[in-house]
Point group: C2
């Protein structure tokens, strides 16, 4: 036997999403969209490709995971890596001054897929961003509140929003004696906490990135701090409080805390100095959401932060607009929600039309035409002669179709049609001309 020549599969780390999963996804997207709209966001769609130069220099070490398109003549393109840079490109290109936008779309990363943990190479992100001037921490606090509402609406009660601030991180690095040009690389290294051990990260810092060992040790000591509001005051009174950058970061976080108090979300927040975020474009507040009881080891299920310089970078400093946003990584959440919603059944069409005897296709089609014209969903078998009713009933039960409409020569002669109600297990005979009306009443009763 010859081996098959055709590889029949989706690309590595990408997958089809079948009808059952789509049903759950539709419900989840609706919940998320409602939450985005409650905060005044409008929808934007951008191309799946961007000019490669638009993406260059925005993602730090993660840039190696970008999918490039082949050079087929013309522009050099890549697939989008996130929805933030395309949004910033949009703002720069249109010289927008303020915009709250949401976008739910797929992004592409040539990462090592772990499909059981919800890590794919093609996956949906649900992004909400506030672009435009904001006094310190006001838009930021709304982003966190929106995130809190969204996670609650998704019934994910057991989450923790971890918070840090890029200026606090810069202050830590200054205190630890990290040279300024190594800040971004050091940030990338710390971002691997959770995936790598501290010893591995320290090795990366010292060997690959050339940090002094005492710098790495100092960082190791500082990033252990985490907790609620008390930690901020305590840190202000220690070494970090003497550093201008760190102090500014800590004070902004204290202001944020007072806003989050009014917004009623502080019990879900933890300040965590080990939170780094690998992307280059963040400039202020950063955050990440984890589940407190992360049995599936999903890691962060949402993340974001303030990026006040990105639009400026993209426009050659010709246009600037401060931004803050959050991105929900829906695939990881879906692993949980699909379990919970596994008993959801695909809704069937309203009616199934069956004919009895030969040469009855046209009669069947006439009935279908009437139903469809009136917005009633309906199907039939694609056989010239309908299968026996005994076979059609199980088909309808399996596919959640509540009514069977039956037409045969007898009914044509008497100008009637029969309707079987599968739930009530009763059959009616109605005048042919009153069929649609009758079905509409039946459907209204069901609701």
């Amino acid at each position: 036997m010859m081996a098959t020549k055709i590889t029949l599969k989706t690309p590595k780390g990408m997958r089809d999403i079948g009808p059952q999963q789509m049903l759950i996804r539709e419900k989840i997207f609706k919940l998320i969209t409602d939450c985005f709209k409650r905060h005044g966001a409008q929808e934007l769609d951008t191309p799946v490709c961007e000019l490669r130069e638009t993406l260059t220099g925005k993602y730090g070490e993660e840039a190696k995971l970008i999918y490039d398109l082949a050079d087929q003549g013309g522009e050099i393109l890549s697939l989008r890596y996130d929805l933030t840079v395309p949004f910033a490109r949009y703002l720069a290109q249109h010289k927008t001054h303020s915009m709250k936008r949401y976008q739910i779309a797929k992004v592409y990363r040539r990462d090592n897929p772990k499909t059981t943990k919800g890590r794919f190479r093609e996956f949906y992100q649900c992004d909400f961003d506030i672009a435009g001037p904001s006094d310190t921490m006001i838009a930021d606090s709304e982003c966190l509140r929106m995130l809190y509402e969204c996670l609650n609406d998704l019934d994910l009660k057991n989450f923790l929003i971890k918070i840090n601030h890029r200026r606090l991180i810069s202050g830590m690095f200054e205190i630890a004696g990290v040279p300024k040009e190594k800040f971004k690389a050091t940030c990338s290294a710390i971002d691997k906490l959770g995936k790598l051990t501290w010893d591995e990260i320290k090795k990366e810092m010292c060997v690959e990135k050339g940090l002094e060992e005492k710098s790495a040790d100092k960082i190791g000591e500082l990033i252990k701090h985490h907790g609620s509001i008390e930690i901020l005051d305590s840190l202000l009174n220690q070494e970090l409080g003497t550093n201008t950058e760190a102090k500014a970061g800590l004070e902004e976080l204290k202001l944020l805390h007072s806003y989050c108090d009014a917004l009623g979300i502080n019990s879900s927040i933890e300040y965590d100095l080990s939170l780094a975020r690998g992307l280059d474009y963040y400039t202020g507040l950063i955050y990440e959401v984890v589940l407190k009881n992360d049995e599936l080891e999903l890691g962060s299920i949402a993340a974001g932060g303030r990026y006040d310089g990105l639009v400026s970078t993209l426009s050659d400093n010709k246009h600037n607009i401060p931004c803050i946003g959050v991105s929900l990584g829906i695939e990881r959440i879906l692993a949980i929600i699909e379990q919970r919603m596994s008993n959801i059944t695909q809704p069937g069409v309203n009616c199934y039309v069956v004919s009895i005897g030969d040469d009855m296709v046209a009669e069947r089609l006439k009935i279908l035409r009437e139903l469809w014209s009136e917005g009633i969903s309906a199907e039939h078998s694609y056989k010239a002669k309908s299968p026996k009713l005994m076979k059609e009933i199980p088909h309808c039960e399996e596919h959640n179709i509540p009514f069977i409409i039956i037409i045969g020569q007898d009914e044509v002669k008497s100008g009637t049609v029969k309707i079987k109600d599968l739930k009530k297990r009763e059959q009616s005979e109605v005048e042919r001309g009153k069929l649609v009306e009758f079905v509409k009443e039946k459907l209204a009763d069901q609701k």
Copy 2:
């Protein structure tokens, strides 16, 4: 002055879709989805990339328009060119025996974009397909009926569904003496009618594709036939009626006609022997929709056909399932619909919260928190001190926000809050604890 180094644009032939356009798109997708569901279709999503070999040999001469991904190690991928081949790959991979599915997603073609005519390199297709056994022309007639309903629901009344049959085309080619191995190439050439003149196409046939001139002339004569049911009978009694393939095609079309009669759509149908469709995978009925009064020169706005061999090809003949489907090219329709819906306004949030005086951010946030918790959409300015009410009112009017909620020191003291109804131009004062209830009543009144 130095020239800017950054190119700030979307890739050629691709574009951002802003909030106003998204609003219209959302409405259109809802109409189309409702129509698909009325006919029992379920949603499927597939990756934007496919293995390149999955796409190879499916698109005839159009294959040169496929976007390839760069070889970055690992699998060789391309962007999907349509939604039909990925669907067939899904059916082959899952060994599905019957499925009605719809998919609304973007496809990619490195074509010469004509954006004014709705031709883009990244564009949405809305696909509906019936996979599974069907007696002759039964599923086919439902596809046409579905298409008819869909175009009517979109309020595009002035359309014509042009119909042909691949077996009829094969018969024409046999009569014209075209060698069998040149059938596909000849089909591709004919498909260019409308874009090229007949003389140009004849030249392509004879010079590039090596057809004899008398074959090309014979084809030129036969493809002139078009019209309604009478043309089918007339052709059956002429030369085409003597050819087995052509006769089979004509007889299938006559059967289709009787079904379309029962379905009430024959007045929108024209049989047209010049309709070829360039894609390799069609095997039976083919169709294309044009507007009768195509002032924008949009060309076909929907197209499809039967492809009974594609799943088999993709599975190395291990699994087969006959299919028929239709694809709506929504971008071209949008050019028309956006004009018609241009007066649609973006809905604003329900409430805008304004504080008066200093140090009132927390009071504002507390009100917002209550509103958001109850599902009421609301915004505020991101300033620590709200701008003067005189400035906020025009902002709310411009953004269709009906209610302004005002809190100042006086209101905090008296435990009240003021609400301005911008439409009725009246202001109320309510107890702070009854705010949400009051707003809910106001909103219910609006509906």
